[in-house]
Symmetry: C2
Subunit: 134 residues, 2 copies
């Protein structure tokens, strides 16, 4: 079921500082910042040769990463996004295997304009997993 | 400086259960478990098309992931490993930019038989970064 690692998401309290760190200290290529009010985040991509790291800063008062940053004020690894060919089939297979899908269980359109679902971290050893249909 | 994401490491309290979850629920290919007493971990690789996820279980009484699992008993994302072409050059560039390298600052031979260094998570927004010379 799992395809490529689409991205690894890291929540940060200060996106400007994080961009400077990845670009200037680590010598990585970083995309311009993009504000996504409907997703409650401002995002940049650190572009690596085989995948990308997504740096996320909260945007607005109901950001989905606000609670994470309250618990981890310095920031931290937030989730891993895997590509799947058919998100409904993946969901049904996971539900049949006893895994929990967050929210309503229906895919939403994610930050990249594609259908996504999140799986409960308690079912995957503390790791929040995003599935994205590509 | 940063090359490919070599792996994303996830610490788990129960490797057998984690393997079953990634293989049977997520339908991923998982390598056989390998015990690395000199690194204090037992490891498997979840093989994705573009990178791999390393599942780590503590081995022995001085495992470097024991403290992490005490703080995160269910498990969690532990570090990201990036490939670099020249680890000494990378280290010197990072030190000159004010970043901290863990331990003695000299590369050690990592779990894959290659020279590795770890960077202080406080300098990278709560993310533990491993550099591996390939």
């Amino acid at each position: 079921m799992l395809g490529r690692v689409n991205h690894i998401a890291i929540a940060v309290p200060d996106l400007k500082a994080a961009v400077a760190s990845y670009r200037d200290r680590l010598g990585a290529r970083v995309s311009p910042a993009e504000s996504l009010p409907e997703h409650g985040v401002t995002v940049v991509f650190v572009e690596l040769p085989n995948t990308k790291v997504e740096l996320l800063e909260p945007l607005g008062e109901t950001s989905p990463i606000a609670a994470f940053l309250q618990k981890n004020p310095a920031g931290g690894m937030h989730h891993i996004c895997y590509e799947v060919a058919d998100i409904l089939q993946a969901r049904d297979q996971l539900l049949a295997a006893g895994a929990r899908v967050l929210g309503t269980g229906e895919p939403k359109i994610g930050a990249h304009g594609k259908p996504v679902l999140f799986l409960h971290p308690k079912d995957f050893f503390g790791t929040l997993i995003e599935l994205e249909q590509v």
